[in-house]
């Protein structure tokens, strides 16, 4: 059974469009050539725009599935998200997916936007998105959104799969109920097992099976033939994850809450060296998939046993992104192909 799941795994890659568009697109093309199945572009107002990046990626790629990973219903109204994704689906027919979640509180705070009723907001966003992209005229009276009558002047094509970005138990269960997929921000088998149980609860409530939902581990990943180099690249990302993790998650991994608080304070005051220096091996183990290709294969295998069907390689990917994508394409992906 495990072998069957391993053979079915799909690989995704996440890029943060922080650099010039041509660098991100170079890596996207490289990922497609190296066997990745999904391209996820993050959506933060302080980076390059997600849909501009995705459109250029759509032009320079041929088969990789692509979509925002993830957008949120607070900064972008669901009718605009529907418009953007439906338009993107014209440039890359049948290759487009939507990733949507509650968003990142820090970024929303910067924009002065309150994260109000996240579960309801995401649910309503998905409802509106589905109606709009099926060509309906939408009148919607929700708790968060009110749409007085919205319809495209063009005919959207095809059904676009929706992935819900989720971490908490309620959002995970909802992803199981209403999503075509779920993007779980976790790297450790303990966290993934817990999350998959929550998704299972959701799917069973509506008579679906877990295999009806693409369960993706959205990981912080770093690979290099030299373990020290892989780890060094992972440290900054892990420090931010530790700082943003709730106590219950830190305790699940036996991480000292005081150390986590010290990292949080150091990051707040831009003391990067101090913050990164406080990152322990236990933190790396809990919040990243990091190491040599063989070590990464071992961890991915554990995650597959926990119930995932897609493995998403996220920041930093490796100390050198181009080398890391090549390494994944040469040594990791083939290991999981029949």
């Amino acid at each position: 059974m495990i072998m069957v799941l391993i053979r079915m795994v799909r690989f995704g890659i996440e890029f943060v469009p922080r650099e010039a568009y041509w660098k991100t697109i170079y890596y996207a093309v490289q990922a497609e050539k190296r066997g990745f199945n999904y391209l996820w572009i993050t959506d933060h107002f302080n980076n390059r725009n997600v849909y501009v990046t995705l459109t250029v990626a759509a032009i320079y790629t041929d088969k990789i599935m692509l979509g925002p990973g993830v957008t949120n219903p607070y900064l972008v109204n669901p009718v605009i998200t529907a418009q953007a994704v439906a338009s993107l689906n014209e440039a890359a027919p049948g290759r487009v997916v939507l990733g949507v979640g509650a968003g990142d509180k820090t970024t929303l705070d910067c924009a002065g936007v309150e994260m109000q009723s996240p579960l309801t907001a995401v649910q309503e966003c998905i409802d509106i998105f589905r109606k709009m992209t099926s060509g309906e005229s939408v009148v919607f009276q929700g708790e968060v959104f009110r749409i007085a009558g919205a319809k495209f002047f063009f005919k959207p094509k095809g059904k676009i799969p929706i992935y819900v970005g989720a971490q908490g138990p309620k959002m995970l269960a909802m992803a199981g109920r209403i999503g075509d997929g779920v993007l779980i921000n976790a790297c450790h088998p303990k966290d993934i097992s817990y999350a998959v149980d929550c998704v299972k609860k959701g799917v069973s409530e509506v008579g679906k099976k877990l295999t009806d939902v693409d369960v993706a581990a959205y990981t912080s990943f770093s690979v290099h033939e030299n373990l020290k180099k892989a780890t060094k690249a992972a440290v900054p990302v892990v420090s931010f994850i530790v700082a943003g993790s709730p106590s219950v998650v830190l305790e699940r991994h036996g991480i000292d809450l005081k150390a986590a608080e010290e990292i949080r304070e150091a990051l707040k005051s831009s003391q990067w060296g101090k913050a990164f220096g406080l990152v322990s091996p236990e933190m790396i183990e809990a919040f990243s998939v990091c190491g040599t290709p063989d070590m990464c294969i071992e961890r991915i295998t554990q995650l597959l046993k926990s119930g995932i069907s897609q493995f998403v390689v996220g920041s930093p990917i490796g100390p050198n992104v181009r080398e890391a994508i090549n390494l994944i394409g040469e040594k990791i992906i083939p290991h999981f192909k029949p």
Partner: protein, 106 residues
Amino acid sequence: MLRDVIDVAYHKVVKTIPLEKREELSDKMIDALLVSKNEDKMPVGLANTILYSWQRGLLVGDVGLVALLEAAVLLEPERTMEILGVELQLTNTTKKVKEVLMKAEK
């Protein structure tokens, strides 16, 4: 106009690169561009030509190499000369690139 002249000149430069060294040169220039901090110096036309060539597996062909060379010289001139002259020992190519740069300065 100057762009066209430079483009023609780089086409001549690329002809001096032996076939067996093209792939390595292409790889090294891509690496130099991807880690460059001078990304703002990349002209959009060159970036799109590089991406177009990359998508089609043509970065070791004449058009791809010309675009990479032009971009590498703009963004990372010292590193490009090191790749050409020291790492790949392409003495004639290095000389020709310097001639193009001098012509462009005039």
